[in-house]
Structure formats: C-alpha cells, structure tokens
Amino acid sequence: MKKSIFSYLINRILLYALIFLISLSAFFFFINLVPGDPVTRYIQMMEQRYGLSTPASEIVIQKYKEVFGLNKGLFERYTSYLSRLILHLDFGPSFVAFPKPAIELILESLPWSIGLLGTSVIIAWVLGVMLGTIIGWKRESKISSIVFTTGLVISQIPTYLLAIVLVMIFTFWLNLFPMGGAYSAMLQRSFSLRFILSLIKHAFLPSMSLVFVYVFGTMISQRALVINVLGEDYIKLAEAKGLKSSRLVNRYILRNTLLPQTTGLALSLGFIVNGFFLIEWIFNYPGIGRLFMMAIREMDYNVLMGITITTMFCVLTANLIIEFLYPLIDPRIRRG
C-alpha cells in the first residue's frame, strides 16, 4: 500500500515536470522566433518614446546583445537559458533596472501575490463548497433557486471588470477604501496593529473582486455535483436506513463531491491567476501582476520571460500540492 502511494506521487511529479518543460520550451522558441531581437526592439522603443533621431550605434547594440547572450544561435541560446535557469535560478538582468537581476524584482513582488491570491482562493472555495452543498441538498426550496440563478449571473462576471466596478463604487463614489497599493504610504513596515489594519484595508477590495465571483462559480459546480450524487442508489439506501441528515451530508454527499471539486480548483487555478494579473494592475497592488504590466510598458524582456515562467511554476506546484491531497480525500487512490 505504501508503495502504490509512492509511485503515484513520483508519477505526478514527473508529469508536471514534463508539462513545465514543454510549456517553457514552446514559449521560449515562440518568443525567439518572432522577428527582431529584444535589444533592438527596446532601443527602437526608447527612440520613439523620447523622440531621439540618432539611432543607437551598432557598437552599443552589439555590446548589449553580448551581455544578454543574443548573438548566439537559437539552440545554443535555448540550452544556455535552460541551464542558467535551472542551475542558477537566473532569468538574466532586467533592462530597466539594469544590472539588477530580473529574479530579484520577481522575488520582491511574489510574496504579495501569493499571499493575497492564496487567501482569496481559499476563502472563495470553502464558502462556495458550503453554499453549493446547501442549495444542492435543499434544491426544491424557493431560496435555493433564487441563489442559484443569481449565482449563474454573477459567476460570469470577469473578476477584473468587477474590480473596476468595486473601485468605482467604494473608492471614487463612497470613498471608503484606498485607491491602491498594499499599505498606507505613511506607515513603516512593522508588526503593529495599525500596519496590519492598513494591510487588510488595502487588500480588501482586490480580494473581494476575486472572492465574490469565485464563491458563486464554485457554488454552481458544487450544486451540480451534489445533485448528481443525490441520484445514486446508496443515498436512497442511507435515507431509507434513517440516517441523520447531518451525517448523510457530511459522510455521503460532501465526501463524494470533494474529489471532483478539488480537481476543478486545480484546473481553474491558471484561469484565476490570469484575472489576477489585471486585478493587481487595477489596484496597483505591488505583486507580480503589476510588475508584469510595468515590464510590458517598458518591454523589459527578461522580466517578462521570468514572470511568465515563475507563474507557470507556481501554478503547477500548487496543482501538484492539490494532487498530493487526493490520496487523503479518496481512499481509492491510496489503494492504487
């Protein structure tokens, strides 16, 4: 029994490593096959933006290409990029903050994103599963169908559009919440109560724009799962046995919906992160999404590559962690 769990875990790790490598390579080759190299493109952009008429001299461009390793062949660039990435965790220097390495910029902003996103997703998921179970269990009641229909509408709102609406209502109209940032600029980072309150106050709206949509998204899929389980014969038997409904819901219904629901979370994580890039941008939250938008404006190539690869890695790792939970949820996997 121990062995089958072990091989399950190894199997999953290898699969995710493969997916990571394939996506990374496809992404790398695509970016490098687009005509024009990042240095030339960057200099062209600077010329346009600041109205410089003298084109940067060839020598400067050559020098930069050397520093960024762009004068080598495609395959050589690929292998050196990979080895640098895997052995030294190095994405190369940032263009804008040269010679600061891109990884430093990314590591500074990553904790903010993971903290806010992680908390919001967990809150949304737990609330959604609870609500979905209730309205699936009591599906005939009037309130359930009202909640369900409302949920159908709300779950279709993209998180970033809701974010704009929330900013409009709570910041511009009611002036209740701050415009952006992660904490008030007047405070020093510390463990004081005032600082923590400021953190929460700044995180509230971005978090709400995600939670509000995903609670209903999870609720709807949970309701469908519950209704499917309710059609099974063992539920009828359990009911006929006269089991208490709390036991029926906890042991018979919830447990059987938990596995597909967790899979659903794993699958939608990438999609949630997509929206989160924009939420951070809208709220000027100092996470990885805002860094990405700034890098896009500056065409900071290494930072863009780095952020994309880092988010890929984080999402895949989160998926892997979720899959490691499967054997705990479902004994069938434990037994292989």
Binding site: I22, L152, I157, M299
Partner: protein, 288 residues
C-alpha cells in the same frame, strides 16, 4: 419547428439567453446604419465631434466622453468588434477542438494521451501573460490574426468536453454496426458521431466565445493589441485613462462593462439551458 418551440418553452433559461444574445448581435449588425444616422456619416471614433462630458440627453442617451465622442455610438461600435472577435475566435477554437477531440476520442491510445497532455497544459498554465507577450511582440496584429492567437489558447476546454462525449459514444452498438458495414473512420466520425453531440459542440463554442472575449477585453484594457479595432475593452481603456472615474462620469465606464456582462451571462444561460434540455441524468434527478 414545433420541437424547437417545445424546448424553448421547457427551459426559460435557454430562451432568455437566446433572446439577449440575439438582440446584442442584432445591435451589432445594425451598428453601421444606426451610427450613420446618428452621426451623419462620421466615424464614431472621431475625436472632438461633440463637447466633452455632455450629460445624458435626447441626442446623447449615454452622454459624451472625454474626447467628445458619443458614448452610445462608441458602445455599438465596441460591441460589434468585441462580438466579431469573439465569434471568429470562438469558431476557430471550436473547429480546432472538434478536430483534435474527434481524433483523440476516436483513436485513443498514444495520440489521445498526447492531445490530452497538450490540452491540459494549456488549461492548467496561466495563459494570459503568454498571450500578452505574444501580442506585444507580434507587430501589426489585425482582427483575424488576433482571433487566431486567441483561439489557440481557448480550444482546450471545449475539446475536453467533446472528447468525453465521443469516448462514450464510441462504445455504442450502432457505431460497431457502422464499422462492420464498412464505413471508414472519417465517415463514422462525421456521419454517425458528430450529429449526436451538436449541442455539446455549441456549448464548447459558447465557452470559447466567452473565453476569447474575456481575454481580448483584458488585453485591450491594459492597452495591448491593435489600436485601430475599437472593441469594448479598448473603450474601457480610453475611459479609465482619460480620468473619467475621478470626475464622476460613472456611466461611461459602467455601460461597456454592462454590455460585456450581458454577453457573458446570455451565453452561459444558453449553456445551462442546453444542459437542462439534453442531459438526461439531470432531468431524472430534478424530476422535471
């Protein structure tokens, strides 16, 4: 025809969804005519046609915005382009999904494993940043190219659903019968299997339309993509960057958002409605 009416009567969600999306499409189709009469033949994106920030009135039902353009006309133009990109990309994505899912679901084995892995990779990985970098780096993105790029990232979801459906259909006896009768693989796929999951293809299509419009709006919102295609996302971008919110002209930002949400909600109502009508398992349990 009678059957269609019966289905519509049976599922109010489906009917509501169809009515909303058809009205939106109709508005988009009539956009050139409406704007021609409202603006006297001038383009809705032309700057300085009217005074800036006029309040809503009879001539300007939603007022005018920071660059002196009529908000209602801009909305219609934006709706037209958003729907156009959504439907083009959605159709492309569905075509890719159907072909790949048919191959995977019908052939099985290694080919299936390969296609499934690629589809899962696209589903799991946050694809929007990749999309943004591609659009940033590829110069001269036109409407079709943009739709194609969007489609590439949105076929995976529908292909999953379609594949599951095919895999279950493959085991049915009448498929064996067709095979014994000497039908080719292609004939079986397109003559015997395809007609049986048309509703699922439509569900896949509407998911892809929603997904691509969302991704496109997100791109345009941050200022990426072709500036000469004034979709609703571009409109919101203009509104935000011209300080509309700070000056309290909320309707200019709310109206494009409302149009987008209406589109998404109506498509989803159609999906849910189709599921109610065609999913026998759901019917049995809910007892309707």
């Amino acid at each position: 025809m009678k059957r269609v009416l019966l289905i519509l009567k049976y599922s109010p969600k489906l009917t509501t969804g169809i009515i909303i999306i058809l009205s939106l499409v109709l508005l988009a189709i009539l956009e050139p005519t409406i704007n021609y009469y409202r603006l006297g033949g001038r383009s809705s994106t032309e700057i300085g046609l009217f005074d800036t920030f006029l309040p809503p009135s009879r001539e300007h039902p939603f007022g005018t915005e920071a660059y002196g353009r009529d908000v209602f006309s801009l909305l219609l133009t934006g709706l037209k382009y958003s729907l156009l990109i959504g439907f083009t990309a959605g159709a492309l994505a569905t075509a890719i999904a159907v072909v790949l899912a048919s191959i995977a679901g019908y052939k099985g084995g290694r080919i299936e494993a390969f296609i499934t892995t690629i589809a899962n990779a696209i589903l799991i990985i946050p694809s929007w940043p990749i999309l943004a970098i591609i659009v940033l780096f590829v110069r001269k993105v036109d409407l079709f190219l943009l739709s194609l790029i969007l489609a590439f990232f949105s076929w995976a979801g529908s292909s999953r659903q379609i594949k599951a459906q095919i895999a279950s259909l493959r085991e049915r006896p009448y498929i064996d019968l067709a095979r014994v009768t000497g039908f080719s693989d292609l004939e079986i796929m397109f003559k015997e299997i395809l007609p049986n999951f048309l509703p699922y293809i439509f569900v896949g299509f509407s998911y892809a339309v929603t997904g691509t419009i969302m991704a496109e709006t997100a791109l345009r919102l941050v200022g990426l993509g072709p500036a000469d295609i004034p979709s609703l996302g571009q409109f919101i971008n203009w509104a935000i960057y011209s300080g509309t919110l700070a000056q309290g002209h909320y309707i200019i930002v709310i109206s494009p958002i409302a149009f987008l949400i209406l589109t998404f909600v109506s498509l989803n109502l159609i999906n849910v409605g189709l599921d109610e009508v065609f999913n026998p398992r759901l019917k049995q349990v809910t007892g309707v």
